[in-house]
Amino acid sequence: MDPAIIEFIGEKCMISIIPNFSNEPLHLIYGSVGPFRAGFPVFVPLWMATHLRKQQKCRIVPPEWMDMDILEEIKEEEKRSKFFTKMPCEHYMVVAQLVMSTAPDDVPRCEELRTVIKDIFDIRESKLRTSIDAFIKGEGTYAKLDNLTLLEIHSVRPILPYSLDHIARYQRTATASQRDTSMLSASMTGSSSGPNSNSLFSQ
């Protein structure tokens, strides 16, 4: 999956804006948004918020969790916990990135926030790498991944599923070749197809 698709999916998140114009509600396919009243906050999808912000038609209200105290706490918790903690938003990286790049002026302590969010992401990524290493060495084929966000899952795609697929394939081949060695002597005359003749373009 393309990172642009992860962003596209994350852009569905609802976020609060303060418009500088007034308008009746808009009936989008996804559901209605508005009414818009100048100076009053209203929830809209992130894709719409960033557009309106670029047109200077609104201010973005950063989500509650984009706050130094809350994020510092999350960071400490993430360090302490052996498991992945639950993030305040399923798409926290996408939301943070888009809000802070579109509207840095709307976000108090923007630079500090950027750093702490990156720290949280890095801690989680390193945890993810360690657990994957253990998982693969343990020859597992199934694992629970609670509280990982889509972007984090994406960061180990395709490498994790591919590695597991390959390990599984080697295991199958090993089993099959054990079987085949015992069959080999009974096989093949002249140009007929042998038991091991590989399929073309095999998956």
Binding site: I29, T141, D146, P161
Partner: protein, 229 residues
């Protein structure tokens, strides 16, 4: 300037689509009411499932058809709006997103059809009419594609190869690896899912996420008990 308030007609009726096409025009009583929002959500889930699943999933042709008519309807309504009007811009942006999902969904399916052509055609042939996974248009495309590739291979190479055995064409069939690992999110609580070759079982809580070989959860995805991520 006309009012856009009713641009997004949020109630859709399956009967609303003109002409033939849907199979449920037999009885007005079971005319289904479905909101455009619901149709879009269904399509979006189908799109993500399709991108993540190794095999081709049942076609959402009827949902697509509803959405295509919804998009056409909204475009019609917007025609009179100044294209720089705030409302027109937001509606167009949403329509762009919807069109992208539809196009990407169909492309993803075409890609699988092109990769696993013969395998998919064989499977379709063995399915009951109600269980077919391809839309009639996709089936036609798949058949044309299969014969097009065969013709090319034949003209350039296979006709000159001695002793073509019947088995060799079979060997050339590309099949998806159904045991490939996928990321999954349970939509509801699903008890006792077999998660390993040794019949190990796990209870999946609603909202829980897992990595698991596709085949073990294929039915959960079809029943919408879980979705791929």
């Amino acid at each position: 300037m006309s009012d856009v308030e009713d641009v997004a007609e949020t109630q859709l009726e399956i009967d609303d689509t003109e002409g033939a096409g849907l199979e449920d025009d037999d009885d007005d009583d079971d005319m289904e009411q479905i909101t455009a929002q619901k149709v879009l959500e269904t399509l979006e889930t189908a799109w993500i499932n399709e991108m993540c699943a190794p095999e081709i999933l049942p076609s959402q042709a009827d949902m697509l058809e509803l959405m295509v008519s919804q998009v056409a309807h909204m475009e019609e309504q917007m025609r009179d709006l100044d294209k720089n009007d705030f409302r027109a811009v937001v509606h167009s942006m949403e329509l762009e997103r919807v069109r992208y999902i539809m196009a990407s969904y169909l492309r993803c399916r075409l890609q699988k059809i092109e990769t696993f052509t013969q395998h998919i055609l064989n499977q379709e042939a063995s399915r009951e009419p109600d269980d077919k996974r391809l839309s009639p248009e996709e089936t036609k495309f798949a058949q044309e594609f299969a014969s097009n590739v065969d013709e090319y291979f034949h003209k350039v190479a296979t006709q000159y190869m001695p002793n073509q055995q019947r088995g060799e064409a079979e060997q050339r069939i590309v099949t998806p690896n159904l045991m490939s690992h996928v990321f999954l999110k349970a939509n509801v609580a699903v008890p006792a899912v077999i998660v390993g070759v040794d019949d190990e079982e796990v209870d999946m809580a609603a909202g829980s996420q897992h990595i698991i070989p596709y085949q073990l959860v294929a039915d959960l995805i079809q029943n919408n008990q879980a979705q791929l991520i």
